[in-house]
Symmetry: D3
Subunit: 324 residues, 6 copies
Amino acid sequence: MILRVDRLQTELPPPSDPDPVGAASVQELLGGKFGEMSTFMNYTYQSFNFRNRQGARPFYDLLASIAAEEFGHIELVSAAINTMLTGAAGGNGSPTTFPDSIKGTRNTQQFIAGGAGALVQDSMGKPWNGDYVFSSGDLIEDLTHNFFLETGARNNKLKVYEMVDHPAARALTGYLLVRGGVHQVAYARAIERLTGAELMKLFPSPRIPTDKIPECQPHIQRGEHLKLYRFSVEDFREIAAVFNGPHPETGEELQVAEEAQPSGAPAHDLPAQPALFAPSPEPEEIREIAARLREAAGLPKEPTGVVAGNGDGGVVQKVKNAVS
Amino acid sequence: MILRVDRLQTELPPPSDPDPVGAASVQELLGGKFGEMSTFMNYTYQSFNFRNRQGARPFYDLLASIAAEEFGHIELVSAAINTMLTGAAGGNGSPTTFPDSIKGTRNTQQFIAGGAGALVQDSMGKPWNGDYVFSSGDLIEDLTHNFFLETGARNNKLKVYEMVDHPAARALTGYLLVRGGVHQVAYARAIERLTGAELMKLFPSPRIPTDKIPECQPHIQRGEHLKLYRFSVEDFREIAAVFNGPHPETGEELQVAEEAQPSGAPAHDLPAQPALFAPSPEPEEIREIAARLREAAGLPKEPTGVVAGNGDGGVVQKVKNAVS
Amino acid sequence: MILRVDRLQTELPPPSDPDPVGAASVQELLGGKFGEMSTFMNYTYQSFNFRNRQGARPFYDLLASIAAEEFGHIELVSAAINTMLTGAAGGNGSPTTFPDSIKGTRNTQQFIAGGAGALVQDSMGKPWNGDYVFSSGDLIEDLTHNFFLETGARNNKLKVYEMVDHPAARALTGYLLVRGGVHQVAYARAIERLTGAELMKLFPSPRIPTDKIPECQPHIQRGEHLKLYRFSVEDFREIAAVFNGPHPETGEELQVAEEAQPSGAPAHDLPAQPALFAPSPEPEEIREIAARLREAAGLPKEPTGVVAGNGDGGVVQKVKNAVS
Amino acid sequence: MILRVDRLQTELPPPSDPDPVGAASVQELLGGKFGEMSTFMNYTYQSFNFRNRQGARPFYDLLASIAAEEFGHIELVSAAINTMLTGAAGGNGSPTTFPDSIKGTRNTQQFIAGGAGALVQDSMGKPWNGDYVFSSGDLIEDLTHNFFLETGARNNKLKVYEMVDHPAARALTGYLLVRGGVHQVAYARAIERLTGAELMKLFPSPRIPTDKIPECQPHIQRGEHLKLYRFSVEDFREIAAVFNGPHPETGEELQVAEEAQPSGAPAHDLPAQPALFAPSPEPEEIREIAARLREAAGLPKEPTGVVAGNGDGGVVQKVKNAVS
Amino acid sequence: MILRVDRLQTELPPPSDPDPVGAASVQELLGGKFGEMSTFMNYTYQSFNFRNRQGARPFYDLLASIAAEEFGHIELVSAAINTMLTGAAGGNGSPTTFPDSIKGTRNTQQFIAGGAGALVQDSMGKPWNGDYVFSSGDLIEDLTHNFFLETGARNNKLKVYEMVDHPAARALTGYLLVRGGVHQVAYARAIERLTGAELMKLFPSPRIPTDKIPECQPHIQRGEHLKLYRFSVEDFREIAAVFNGPHPETGEELQVAEEAQPSGAPAHDLPAQPALFAPSPEPEEIREIAARLREAAGLPKEPTGVVAGNGDGGVVQKVKNAVS
Amino acid sequence: MILRVDRLQTELPPPSDPDPVGAASVQELLGGKFGEMSTFMNYTYQSFNFRNRQGARPFYDLLASIAAEEFGHIELVSAAINTMLTGAAGGNGSPTTFPDSIKGTRNTQQFIAGGAGALVQDSMGKPWNGDYVFSSGDLIEDLTHNFFLETGARNNKLKVYEMVDHPAARALTGYLLVRGGVHQVAYARAIERLTGAELMKLFPSPRIPTDKIPECQPHIQRGEHLKLYRFSVEDFREIAAVFNGPHPETGEELQVAEEAQPSGAPAHDLPAQPALFAPSPEPEEIREIAARLREAAGLPKEPTGVVAGNGDGGVVQKVKNAVS
C-alpha cells in the first residue's frame, strides 16, 4: 500500500500564458506508450507479480521503489498540463463563448470532458491502455524491457522538450530527463549484475548528453542524476545492492539517498475556471460550504493544506538563470 | 508523491489449489470498467486536476486520500490473482508441456504473456484504458460519478464473489466489499454536504447488506466499515469535515482513523514458477547472485524484506470460522 | 420494433457559413462517451434487457420511451454536423483541390471517409463503442447510472455550446439542454420513487440554470422542459406513474404529453457536394434515374418526401430574436 | 424521429434450458462487425447523411426504412440472448455461489457486468464500435457496401445457426436469414437501377438457398422473403420505385407491404434473476412500489403492457413442426 | 515467402517544401480502414487461408499476386509521407526548439514517436488494426469484399488527392489510382467468372474516370491501367485465366505483364534529421562506423545500395508537364 | 517491392486431429504484441522510414532483409493454425450443426468470421494493431527495441510450445525458435557494432538454450541457427558487415547464406470445409469453373501450382525421430 505526500517531486512555475496546443503535446508524456503512466504501471505490476521475492530481494526492491517514484511523475506531468491550460478558456462567467484560440484546439476533450484538465491520453487523444504493461515474470526479460522503455521515454521527453517551450513544460522535461536517466542506468546496471553483459556504453541513448539541456542543470547540480530514493520509510533497503558503481556518463559514484524521498515542493493552487465549472461555475459557494464544514468538524479556520506561494525564486528561477 | 509500505492492506490466504478459471474472472475486479484500476485512477486524476484546492480543501483531501487507498486495492487484487495461478502450470522444469487443465484456460495471456501473473485486463481480456477515467473538474459532478462508480464496483464485487469460490478470491471480495462500501458512503455524504440532497436511503446498493456476506464479517467486527484512513503521514486532515454522521445502514458514527493506514499484513512470497521462467527457469541462480550482491553492498546476509509466514491463523482463519 | 417519422424533433437553421472546426467539436455530442449515441444505446439496451417487466412496468415504460426519444437526438446532432459541413469542401466539380480552410481540418475523415458527413466518433476522432453501454439489470443501479450519464451529458452540451457558436450548433445545444434536463429529472424522480432518497437538490447539475441559455428560451416557453413524450402510439402509458410532481428548478408540475411525440420540423434537404461525390459527382444523373423509376412505379411525378422550406421564420427565428 | 412499438418482429420461444455458451456465440449477431448493430447503424447514418434527398428520394426512402427494420433486429437478438441466459445463474437468493456451469462461461461479463443480459459486444467480447459504420455519401458506393455487408451478415447468421442449436437461437437465425435476404436483394436491385450492372446471379451468397433451412420455412410460407415494409406510418413511399421485379432465387415478384410493419409478437416477460439483482435481489419489493405508483397516478390496477402468453402455439410451434 | 526488391514501384519526387499537415492526411492511405495496409493484409491473409488451392488455382493466384503488389503500396505511401515530412522539424542540431509550423501539427506522433516518419495509423491518429481484415474463406464473398474494398479505397485516394497538393502526394495518388483501378477490375471480373453476374457497368466507381486526373496520365500512357503483374518469378501463372477481356472503361484488352514486376525506381535517400535523432543526432558517426564495418567485411568501399539521383527528369517531370 | 515465392520457409505436417483450442492459443504468435505480425511490421516500417540509408547501409540492409524473412513467418503461423483447424467443424454438408467440440471453442471467430482460418488477432481475440510498431528513426534505439522484441517473442514461442502439443504447433515453434534466435543475435551484434556495449552474455534469454528443444534439433543440424539470408536476389549485400563473429551460445561463426532464401517446402493444399463455405459449400463447382477458365486461357489442363505431397518423410519426420 502507499502513503501520499501532498507535494510535487520538484517545483513547477505558476500559470503564465496559457498554451493549450503545447498542453496537447505534453499529454504524450502522460498517456503515451512511453509516457509516465507506462513507466508507473509497468514497474508497479512487475513488483506486484514478482515471484520469489526473498530470493531476488535486491531486484524486487529496485522495481518497487522506482515504481513509487513514477507516481510522482504522473502527478508532475498532470500539474504541468493543468498549469498550461489555466486561463485558456477565458475568465468570464458561464455559459460563455470560448476564445477563438481554443475553438480548434488540438485536444478538445481537455475542455469538453475536463475543466482545463489533464486526460489519460496521449498527444493524439488515444487513451492509455493496459496493453502497454509488460510483465513477463522473467526477471532478466522484464529488466530488458524496462531499459528499452526508459530509452523510448527519454526520446519522447527530448522531443516534447523540443516541441513545447512553455516554461512549465520545460521545467517538467528538464526534471524528468534527469530522473528518467537515473532509472535507465539502474535497469542497465541490474542487467549487468544478473548476466555480466556490459551495457554502459549504450549511454546516453538517444545520444544526447543530459547536461546539454539547460533545464536539467539545476537538478544535476543537486546530484539528482546520481541518486535513487527508496520512496519508503521502512522498505526497499536492498536497492543498494544493485544501484552502485560509476555513472556511465560522468564516472561519479551512484548512490542511494539517505532521505526516503526528495523534499520536492508544494503544488500551486491552480485557480478555478468558472467558464468550465471547475470546481463550479460559482466557486465561492463551495468555499463557504467548506469553511462551514471545517468549523463544524472542529478543524482550523484556515485550510490546513500547503500550496505554493507566489513564485519564491526556487528551482524555476534557477532554471531561468541557467538558461539565460 | 507517494511512499510505499510493503504490506497488503489485509491478509490473504497462501496458495492452495490453483484456480486459473477463477483467476480469469477476478481480472474484472482489476482491469474492468468497474475494477480497482478504475477507482484508483479516477480519484487520482480528480485529485491531480483539482482546482481551487484551498477553497475546497475538505473535498480535495477526501479524493486524494481515497485515491491512495485504491493503490492498495490494485495490489490486493493482483496478489489474489497471482495466488490463484500459483501452481497451475505445473512444477516441472522448462520447456515442458503444460497440464491439460490450462491448455484451454480462459485467459491464456496470464501464462503466455505473464508468468502466472495478473494482467491489466478485465475478465474478457480487454485492457483497461484511460477512457474509464472521469475527471470533469466540476466537483459535484465528479462526486456524482464516484458514487455511481462505487455502486457499479460493488455490483461487480458481489458478482465475482458469487462466481469464484477460491479462498483467495473470497478473502479478497470480502475485504473489498467492506472498504468499497465506505467509499460509497463517503461520496454520498460529500454530495449531501455540497447540495443538501439526501442520498442515504440509496444504501445498500445493490440492495444486499454487506453483513450478509460471511467473508465481510471479520472486517465489520473490526469496524472497518466505518473508518476512513488518511493514507498520509501529514496531509489530508480535512476529510473529517466531510466524513462524519451516521452510517446509512447501521446508524453507527463514521470516523476518521487515527492511524495513517491499516496495519495490514505482509504478502506471501509466492513461489517461483520455473516452467514459466518466473523469475527464471533456474531461480536458484538468481538467489545466489542476489546473496553475492547483498554481501558486496554490506547488507545483512538474509533478505531484509518481510513476507508472510506459514498461515498464522489471522484474518483468513477468522473468515473461515465465520463461514463454517 | 420502431416506426420512423421522417421529421426532426426540432427545427434547425439551414446551411450558412461552413464551420468544419466547429463540426469536429460537435462530434463529441454524437459519438463521445456522453454523446447521444450513449444515451440512445444505454436506455435502449436497458429496455431490451429489462427483466420482470410487468412487475416493474412504470420503470420499463420510462426507459423504453426515453430511449425512443434519443434516436431523435442522434438524428439531430447528425443534421447539425451535416449542416455545418455543407459547402466546406467548395462547390467545384471533382476531382478538385479543396480550399485551404479544410486542408488541416481537425476531423479529416468527415471529408475523406464521408461526404461532409457525420461520423460515429467523438471530437478526437475516437469511435463510439459498446463499452459505453451500462446495463446491469439492477434497476436502481441502472437509474443511478442514467442520472449520472445525463449529468455528464449536460456538462458536455454546455461546453460544446461554449466552444461552437455556429447557428446550427447553438440551435442544437439549446434544444438538447432542455430535453436532456427533462431526462435528468425523470431518472432522479424514478430513483426517489424506488428508494425514498431525495435528489431534487442536485438540480441543476452542473450548477447553471437552463433558462440562462438564450437558445433554450423558445423551448422553455413551449413547456418542453416539463414534458415527457411516450414516443409510441399505443405503449408506455405508465410513465405517468413515475414522471410527476414538481420540477426541481421551477416548481411547475411535470407532465406526460398527450401527443405521442413532438411535431418537430422537416429536415433541410442538404445540397449535394459534388466535390465529395455526395451523393455523386454528377447528382443530376441520379435525379433523372429517380424520376424515371418513380414514374415506372406509378408514383407521383414530384418527390413525395417533405423537406424544410426556405427559412420560414420558425423556432430558429425565435431563437435569434430571443438572443438579440 | 421514431415511435416505438412494444412488440418483437417475430415470435421467439420462451426460456427453456439455459445455454450460456450459445448465448456468448449469438453475441456475434449483435455486436460483431457483421451483426445487427452494424446493419442498424450503417443504414441509419447513411440516411442521416443523405444529401440531395429529394433528387434521390427512392433511394433515401429505401435506406431509411431498412434502417428502421434493423432496430427490430437488435431487439430480437437481445431477446434471444436474454432468453438463453435465463436461469443460468441459478434461482437461489443472493449472494450465492453460481453453478459450476457458468464459472468458466465464455462471456463472463453477461453475468458480472449484466444480469444475464445481452452486451454490445461480439462473440469474443470485443465491443461494437463506430468504425464499423460506412457512410461515404456516395450513393452507389454506400449501396455496394450494403450489399457486401448483408452478404457477410448472411454468412455469420448461417454460421451461428450451425454453431448454436438452442431453440431461441434457431428461431432467431431462421427469421433473420429470411429478412436479411430481402435486404440483400434490395441493395442489389438498387445498384442495378442506378448503374445497369446485373447482380442477380450473385444470389444466394453464400451459395446456400434460404429454403434449405427448416427454421426459415414458416417465414417463407408467409411471403416474408419477398416483402419490404416501410416501417413508417406516413413516409418512405418511394421504396416501391426500387424494390420491384423478380426475386433472384424464386422468380416471384418483390412487393412493398401494405401494412407499415409486421404484426410481430409480444415479448416474453423474462423472469427476474435475483442472484444477479435483475431487476433486484428482491423483485417483489419493486412490484409493490410499482403497484402503488400506478394507483397514485390513476392508472389501471394491472400492468398495461402486453407480454407473451404461455406458448400459444404460434410461429414457434410451426417452426418445430417444420423441423420435425 | 518473399524476396525483396529494393526499389519503389514508381518514381516519387525528392523532398521539397515540407508539408506536415498534408502528411497527416496521407496517413489515411496507409493505416486507414481503406488504406494500403488494409488491401495488403486482406489479400495476404485470404491467400494464406485459401483452401482447396489446386481446385481454385486461378483465383488463388489472383489473390496472392495482388497481395504481393500491395506491399509495394505500403512502401510507396510511407515514402511519400517521409518525403513530405523531411525538413519540417528544422535542420538545426539537437536539442533544439522546433519551428512554430509543427508545434500544433495534426499528427504530433510523426515527430514525437517517430523521426519525421510514417506511422501505422490513419489520418486521425488511430492505429490500423486486424479487425480490418476480412477473410471468410468463402471465395465469392471474399471477392465481393475485395471489390468493395477497392471501391472504398478509390474514394479515399480521390479525396486525399483533393485534400493534399504536395507533389509527392499527387505523384502517389496518381499512381495508386491507376493500380487500384486495375485491382478493382480484377476482382469484378473474378466475380463474373464465378457467378455470371455482370459488374462492368459499375465502373468507374466513384463515377470519376481515372483519365480525368492529370497525375494518372503518364501511367495510363504506359498501359499500367491494363496490366496485372505476377509479382513472382515462378508462380501465379494462372491469373491469366481470370484477368482478361475488355477493360470496362476503355474497352482495351486486359493483359498479364510479361515481366514479373514493374521496373519501378530507386527510392530517394532521405536526408538525416538530426533534430529528431534520425538516424542519430550525429549521423556522421554512424557513417564512419558503417564504413569501417564494410571494410572489415571485405565489401566495396562505397555503399552498394542504389538510391535515386538528383531529379533525373523521370516520371515526375512528365507528370508536371502533363499537369501544366 | 516484393516478389512472392509460393513456398513455406519450412515444412509443416499435414492436417491430423483438429485442435481448435490449441489453434486459439497459437494466434498469440500471429497477432499478439510479440507475434510475427509485430516482428514483420516493425522491421518493415523501420526500413521504410530509414533515413540516410547510404550512410548507414549495413544496418538498413539488416533491417530490410530480416523484415522480408518475417513475411514468411506470418505465412507459417497462419498455415499452422489452418492445419490445426482443418476438420474441426465436421465434414458434413451445409447448413449443418457443428460438433459439440467447437460449440464453446475459445476462438469462435475462427469459425464464424472465417472458414476455419487464421485471424489477425492474439490468443484472447484482440486484433493486432499499429500501435505495436516502434519506429523512432533513431537507429540505436530501434535496434534496442528489436532486441527486446525478439526476446519477448522468444518467451512467447516457448510458452506456446509448452501450451500446445499438436504436431503442427510443435513443428512451427521449433522452427521459429531457431530463426528468432538468429534475429535476436543479429540485433544484439548490431548494437555492439554501433556502441561497443557487449551484449552477448544476455544469451539465451529467456535462459533456456534452444538446443534443449527437440523440435529445434533438425534446424540446428542444418545450421539454420547461424545463418542470415538476404531474402533478395540483388540487394542487401551489406548485412555481412554486421552479422559476423561467434554465436554467443555455441561459439560457431555466424554467416550470410549464399542462397537468397531457404528452399523451404510447398504448403499442403488444405482441404475444403464445405460446412464453413470454404471456399464454397460446393467446392466441386469452383473446380469446374477453374478448369474451364484455365482451358480458355490456354493454360495447362492441370493446376500449375505446387503443393505438398503425402507426407514424404521430410523435416517433420526428422523432428518426430528426434523427439522419440
